[in-house]
Amino acid sequence: MKKKTLAKIGIFTAAAALAVVSAACGSNDDSSNAGESTGLPEKIVIGYQNIPNGDLVVKHDGLLEEAFGDAVSVEWKLFDSGGSVNEAILAGAIDIGLVGSSPASRGISSGIEYQIPWIFDVIGKAEALAAKSGINSIADLKGKTVATPFASTSHYSLLAALEDAGLSESDVKVIDSEPDAILAAWQQGDIDAAYVWNPVLAKLTADGGKVLISSEDLSKKGKTTYDLAVVTTSFATKYPAALQTWLNQQNAAVTKIREDVDGAAASIAAELNIPAADAKKQLSELIFLNASEQAGAEYLGGGLARNLFAAAEFNLKLGKIESVKEEAAYNAAILTTYASAAK
């Protein structure tokens, strides 16, 4: 009786193990299967976010679909944060995605196999620390409650601003909150200040919020934050031609933002369901670089890698991440050749 039961348990366990292992192998396939002969994938899956930059212009104007024609199908998937994009890349669900420099630094530090070929934008006034009236400097925040979405570029900027003002994290009550909840908490009077991005930032300032410091100010102090493109290493190795085509369209979008800002704003406004005037204003609060500027030493050519490494060390110092890789890993994660070769 006992032997029989144990044997049954054994068989059941082995069957379960087999099922799990075979499922594992099954899910290991790439999302984009090869059309090896042409050097192009059959499908590109792109993870985008609702941030008013060139990516939305590319999407709305159908630049990628036009450039690839019928050979490659393009699938756009919407994400709400860099953390979700990191997860999706780990899961093999997307090929190219948009993440802030803070999640990108975390991703490289924890060993996600992706690389950065393109900077969507440098964050300027679009992210800022807004405070209730009566708070006139960052030092006034001592003992107050400040909300920010944790692990975002805003969180990083907030910690940098506090450190710059000589405050430690224990002097201020920093709480984790998503942008929509920040707006509600602000109106409730639960928080005294928030480091957050548009459109919530615009609503806070319209509601009497005073901007104490913006990401543009912090950039001048060496704590620049970016919105970055990440491409899985396997995709970049397998389909360099497709990546180049993708990047050329991004470059075209930056040209459009610079030369025809109303047209670009109209495209973005359509994607975000906001008035074109708002889109134009939000565009003006980000800094856009074309391919040749990006390829220079200040950005992809060296500055960005140093920035990501420094961000990782800063996060480690504050106990926000577990480990930092050697600086070479951050250099290796930046691809300059595509921006240099862009048309």
Binding site: K2, A24, A151, E178, A181, Q188
Partner: protein
């Protein structure tokens, strides 16, 4: 206790293998597998499989952290390291207690409001027709759907979280109690009426005791609902909190901490359910025995 049915006598001792010894009215035979073997074997199988999968290395440690990584996260969560306590600034028990305290308050309010409401639903037909659909409506709402409303109304401190847990917990309690009232055996009610009881006495001495087991079943379901809602409740300002910690791991790529949270939530929920069952055995042990 009623004598066990000796069905095996009528079936010449034959019984399908899935009919348990308890149902057949037999004591477990001596020398068979002890009862502790199964949970231990189940745990061993899961951990063994987990360990084997990580040892084979199909997935990176980010996708499936090894048991030793999760152990490391556990050690971190209960010790001070680099001058900081635990994970996200609090020790594991502080996270767990913060969540438990929210659940206790949410479920307590659900009991206070839900049990009388359920009684009213069960005893008074017009009220059931009036309020029954509202309770069913509330029960079917996904918590994430209306949580932002609660934040706007009650802020991002504990009040909105307790409200969310209350809303998740009160419907199962109400509906169980109402079902309990409806299933009170008519013979018992008739018997008490024959003995001269008035309506209030029937409710006090017959219906209420009959409802207690259903109330406890509803409570168990409600606590389960509250646990499934805790991560949603702690997405905003949820630190300390075990759900808030799980939410933070999503942003911080700490799969090891995510698995730790899953294990801690699972064990706590099982222990809590065990506690309620013990309470039921002690104070509602008459269930099914009249």
């Amino acid at each position: 206790m009623t004598p066990p049915l000796q069905t095996t006598q009528a079936t010449d001792g034959r019984a399908p293998s899935w009919v348990s010894a308890r149902q057949r009215g037999q004591e477990a035979p001596k020398g068979s597998i002890p009862s502790w073997f199964y949970p231990v074997a189940a745990t061993g199988t899961v951990v063994g499989l987990w360990w084997a999968l990580t040892a084979v290395g199909i997935w990176s440690e980010l996708i499936l952290p090894s048991p030793s990584q999760v152990w490391h996260a556990f050690v971190q969560s209960v010790t001070e390291h680099d001058g900081r306590p635990g994970l996200s600034g609090y020790y594991l028990w502080e996270h767990l207690w913060a969540s438990l305290w929210r659940i206790v308050r949410g479920v307590a309010w659900a009991l206070v409001v839900g049990a009388p409401l359920g009684l009213a639903l069960g005893l008074w037909r017009p009220f059931e027709r009036f309020a029954g659909p509202i309770v069913s409506f509330l029960r079917s709402l996904p918590p994430l759907g209306y949580f932002s409303l609660l934040i706007i109304w009650f802020g991002i401190d504990d009040t909105s979280k307790v409200w969310l847990l209350f809303l998740a917990a009160f419907a199962p309690i109400s509906l169980s109690v109402a079902a309990g009232v409806a299933s009170t055996r008519i013979e018992r009610i008739n018997a008490s009426l024959v003995l001269g009881a008035n309506n209030a006495q029937v409710v006090r001495y017959v219906v209420l005791p009959s409802v207690v087991p259903d109330l406890i079943t509803g409570l168990r379901v409600a606590v389960g609902f509250a646990w499934t809602t805790i991560v949603a409740a702690e997405t905003s300002n949820g630190i300390p909190g075990i759900g808030g910690l799980a939410w933070a791991t999503k942003k911080e790529l700490r799969s090891d901490v995510a698995i730790l949270c899953v294990i801690v939530i699972g064990i706590t929920a099982v222990l809590l359910d065990y506690g309620i069952r013990q309470f039921e055995k002690k104070y509602a042990g008459w269930y099914g025995r009249w």
